[in-house]
Amino acid sequence: MNTKRILIANRGEIATRIARACRELGYKSVGIWTDFEVNAKHLEFCDEWVFLPGKNNRETYLDIQKLLKLAEDHRIDGIHPGYGFLSENGAFALACEQAGIVFIGPNPKAIKAMGDKATSKEIAKKAGVPVVPGSTQAVPTVDEAIKIAKQIGYPVLLKAVAGGGGRGMRRCDSDQDIVKNFEAVGREALASFANAELLVEKYILNPHHIEVQILADKKGNVFHFFERECSIQRRHQKIIEEAPSPFVGEDEELRKRLCDTAVILARAVGYDSAGTVEFVMGADRNFYFLEMNTRIQVEHPITEEITGVDLIVCMIQGAFGESLGIPSQEWIKRTGHAIECRICAEDPITMLPAPGKVTGFETNFPQGTRFDNCLYKGLQVTPDFDPMVGKLVTKGIIRDVALRKMRAALDGLFIEGLKTNIPLLKEILREEHFISGHYNTNYIAEYKPQEKINTDFDHQRVYQVLATIEVRRFGR
């Protein structure tokens, strides 16, 4: 039998996650290491390790030709792009297809259609999916942007056509704001997505960011795996996600409508892999299509926890034209409540990235904690990559239990040597509005949990750390 060989064109925790899925399926995983990340811990779980030359991301994880050459040299059957990097690059998916390699993700057409915000909005509109008012095409100039903003009314959101993950977008409250931000957002967009085109969109006040997990195969089956609430964000990037959404709550009619809408869109675009349809939901419970992420997402574990389905395994099976093993939508049930905290190397108060070296790492988790991570003592967190170093996931029969477990899990996670957002996460998990489930994307701006963090110098902890050093003089 010819064992399938999967190249993991990614790094960090997601590379580890994919390698584990390959192992389960009996496929060989091939991991990549680079010059600028010699201690790539994700390789630990890969069956084979290959070297990819290059000085930076552009010359390695983003270099389509090099990756294809690597795939050819190592007799690769399929490439899993993970998230970020080339995961939503239609040209890469197409190049794989042409090279006779299975791209473990959706078809290039779907990526291209959904990757472009203007096109995706058009498709959504045509399919009868509600969309946020705004420009339907890239806005070429500042003047044009101001004109559209005046039509739909301030505040507006200036964002990259090819954007995603919260990068390349900024709120503008006036003409001057647009003038001030147009160039910077364009530059950020160019740096992150190699495309400087921008859109102008109505900014929904007190919005909820709610998304629906989709899984489809090449036979035309499209399933949804219910929703995730991702409203706890800083810098437009998620830090805490939960499933199901406490805002949708017991409203099963709304939940069904939301999830069915996502399926309609996925069908309309001919979707055939794992993906996420993101919606913004106002306080009035009206929801609008934001964008579709044509990849596996960072926060997929909480959906896996409440449905018991391994999304990465399904994604790989589906890509090779195999059955997903799901008889019908009715078989997908959700039980309990799951929550995810993103552990990031950043200042807990300013929330700015804070690279550094991990000098100590220890966990002491409650039963049933899942921690997808790439941490180890000695890990150098560099500015080359996203500051996220791990994802802490807990589950409970009800939300309160999941939160209790998360508090205990955070208390049992020790990362030394560099700043992390753990103190901020602890504060949020103990804050009354978060606990009550009444929060929206303005949560951090509104309640400023970072200001409640106790920053007093902890003498006891210094003494304890020093004591464990001193004790070694006694040969222990």
Partner: protein, 171 residues
Amino acid sequence: MRTYLIDKDKNEHCIDLKKTIVHSSELVEFEFATVVDGHDTNVEHVFVRRLAGQYFVSMDNIHWKKLARQELPKVFLNVNRLYNVYRGYKPSGMDSSADSGLVTQMPGKVVKIAVKVGDQVQKGQTLLILEAMKMENEVKSNADGIVKEIFVGEGQALEQGVAMMTLEEKP
């Protein structure tokens, strides 16, 4: 043994190990104090025990907890402050010119320099844009003044703690 913890803002904690009591081969007790103006403050006892190959610590010899195992740490993290750890000596000649606003707070790349030498700048004005972890961060002036020197160029990659420019503050 004396240990100094000093952060980039010159916050300093001086910690003395006062006493070591070896109770048994598996249990050692230490007395620590923080020296403030020549006086011992926050005097506390820490017990260390090895259990199953790992260190556990206790303040009362009853309640124990596990610490992340570290080599001699060069830095100590206290929520949002990173202290450099100096054991046995206090470093001299630490730079004093570093005006925190004009020194890189994290490694990054200079995207754009918004001022030139001789420019009058106001407090809060953007001096340059630094890209770190794919995010653009505006570095703003923390005082009114005149740009005296610029040490960096657009596109340059910088380590943490690098001086980017100097300002002559207006009195």
